[in-house]
Structures are given as structure tokens and as C-alpha cells.
């Protein structure tokens, strides 16, 4: 009887050791192996891409439109469309040129984006571009739910008082 109880106690002791080892393994898996990797580079790339793309684009001079800046062409597109470039209105010219630039940059790098130009007083977009893959139109949109980096540029207009064009570059994470 005493021997039986002694054996039972020894088994119980071994069980406690095994339970402690299992707990240690569980915590190691949870907090070390399953720890999410830091996303410094991805976050930096997204933020710098949205900012630098907008700055570079708005500052660029048009090739066959008397060297007018893109920011000026966008505001003309929003206002009276008086500027004519190579037989095209400013809006058509911007759309064509932006498609060409995006093809060699964000589309080539397989970056998901949503680029919009709209008046601050009207939510309807004047210019709108999504990334190439049609599925991305659903996934990458500048709304409150999608994770990404947004950079907004404010372009004042010459004849519309306090109204201005908001040029938004949204890069999805």
C-alpha cells in the first residue's frame, strides 16, 4: 500500500514536470516564433512613395505643352480647361500622361494605389487612377477602412476664391 502510494507520488511528480515543460514551450511559441516581424521598411517605403510621387509629379513640366507644370494643368482641368496641349484639353492630356507615368513606375513596381484629384467643395473626382489589377479597385481605395499611406497636396485655383484642388496619392499597405 505504501509502495503504491509512493509510486503514484512519483508519477505525479513527473506529470508536473511535463506540464511545466509544455507551458514553457507554449509561451516560447506564442511570444517568440509567432511574434510579428517589424515593418519598418514597408512603412517607410509606403510613406516616402506617396509623398515623393506627388511632389515629383506636381513639379514636373509637361513635354509638349509649353513646359507648363502639372499642378497648373490640374487646376486648369478643375476650372475652365482653357489650356490646350497638342490638340488635347488639359484634362485629357493629364489623364494620358499620368497613365504613361504610372505604367513605368507604380504599375511596374506592382504597388497598389489610388490617385484622385478633386475640388475641396465637391467630392466628385476630376481625375481618378487605380492600380492596374482590376481586383485592386476593390481592395485599394482611399477610404477609412483600407490600411495605407495618404499624402494630400492642396493646389490653389486662381479664379475660384477659397476653393482649391485636393490632389491625393494613396498607397495601400
Amino acid at each position: 500500500m505504501v509502495k503504491q502510494k509512493k509510486a503514484q507520488l512519483e508519477i505525479f511528480g513527473l506529470m508536473i514536470v511535463i506540464v511545466l515543460v509544455m507551458l514553457g514551450i507554449f509561451f516560447a511559441i506564442k511570444f517568440v516564433l509567432l511574434d510579428p516581424a517589424p515593418t519598418l521598411k514597408q512603412d517607410y517605403n509606403r510613406v516616402q512613395l506617396s509623398s515623393n510621387f506627388g511632389v515629383a509629379l506636381l513639379q514636373s513640366s509637361s513635354d509638349d505643352c509649353r513646359g507648363i507644370d502639372f499642378s497648373e494643368l490640374i487646376t486648369d482641368c478643375a476650372e475652365f480647361q482653357t489650356i490646350s496641349c497638342d490638340g488635347k484639353r488639359s484634362c485629357d492630356y493629364i489623364n494620358t500622361t499620368l497613365d504613361s507615368i504610372l505604367k513605368d513606375t507604380l504599375d511596374l513596381w506592382k504597388v497598389k494605389y489610388h490617385i484622385v484629384a478633386r475640388l475641396s467643395s465637391h467630392p466628385e473626382p476630376i481625375i481618378e487612377k487605380y492600380s492596374v489589377d482590376s481586383a485592386d479597385r476593390q481592395n485599394c481605395k482611399n477610404d477609412k477602412k483600407t490600411v495605407g499611406s495618404l499624402e494630400t497636396f492642396f493646389l490653389p485655383m486662381s479664379h475660384s476664391g477659397s476653393d482649391m484642388v485636393n490632389f491625393e496619392v494613396f498607397i495601400c499597405g
Binding site: L14, V17, F53, A56, L57, Q59, G67, I101, T105
Partner: protein, 157 residues
């Protein structure tokens, strides 16, 4: 008596065996976790290094537009970048100290133009660690126009 002592000896051996098995399993597990942790640290260091390099290159004074010694923000001087090709070759050790084994290219996207390589330190045998693309505004002093360009930094592992 003999059997009793043999049984106890057998028990002791069994316990020692289980103990050492547990110890070995624990050590193997610890080594695996440590390896994963070190791998993650190395990956994080490479990412930090890539970000540092991107910032260093993007703000090199050799690339910046200036007017009367005042730096113009968010602007890269095309002719300075062209000149940098020869300067970096002549002073390779100086730039290698800060930049290391990387390839810097500046590509003109709109209007489409040449690709300039202001710095090239590609090792003989390499694996591409990462590539960063930074849209930039290139200023052409001759035509007084801004060109949409891309600064491409290739880091080698």
C-alpha cells in the same frame, strides 16, 4: 533483496534517461528559437540599413538643386548627377565609406530619357538584397524644366 535493488536501479536509470531526453529536447528547442530570433534581428538590421541608405542618397549634397548656395527642397540637379559619375569614380574610397556596395541609378521617366549611373559599387559576386525606388524631380538647367524621374538604389547582400 537483490531483485528489489535491481528494480530501484532500473527506476533510477529510467528517470535519468527521461531527464536527459527532456534536457536534449529543451536544448534543441532553445537553439531553434534563438536562431529564429537572430534571423529576425538580422532582417530588421538590413531593413534599417536600407532605409538609412535611401535617406543618405536622397539627401546627398552632390545631387541637390541650389540657387545662390541655397538648397532647393525636393529637387535633383540633372547636370550635377551627370558630373557625379566621374567624381565618384575618381573618389571611390571616399563615397564607399558612406555608401558601401550599392548601385545608384537615376532614370528619366517623363519625358523619357537616359538612365544616369552616378555611383556604382557592384561587388564581383553578389545577391541583390533589396531595391528601392524613389520618385524624384530632376531639374534640367539648360531647358529650365523639371523632369519626372526615379532614383533607384540597389543594395547587395
Amino acid at each position: 533483496m537483490k531483485k528489489k535493488s535491481q528494480m530501484q536501479f532500473g527506476e533510477t536509470i529510467a528517470i535519468l534517461f527521461i531527464f536527459f531526453m527532456l534536457l536534449v529536447v529543451g536544448l534543441v528547442f532553445y537553439v531553434k528559437i534563438k536562431t529564429a530570433s537572430v534571423g529576425q534581428d538580422i532582417s530588421e538590421y538590413k531593413d534599417v540599413r536600407a532605409v538609412e541608405l535611401s535617406q543618405t542618397v536622397a539627401f546627398l549634397p552632390e545631387f541637390q538643386c541650389t540657387e545662390m548656395n541655397v538648397v532647393e527642397p525636393s529637387c535633383f540637379d540633372k547636370y550635377k548627377i551627370l558630373a557625379m559619375q566621374k567624381v565618384s569614380e575618381a573618389n571611390h574610397a571616399y563615397y564607399y565609406r558612406d555608401l558601401g556596395d550599392i548601385l545608384i541609378e537615376v532614370q528619366q521617366i517623363y519625358p523619357f530619357g537616359e538612365t544616369i549611373v552616378p555611383y556604382n559599387s557592384t561587388p564581383e559576386t553578389f545577391t541583390v538584397a533589396s531595391q528601392a525606388h524613389i520618385p524624384i524631380s530632376l531639374y534640367d538647367v539648360e531647358s529650365e524644366k523639371y523632369i519626372f524621374g526615379v532614383l533607384r538604389i540597389t543594395t547587395y547582400g
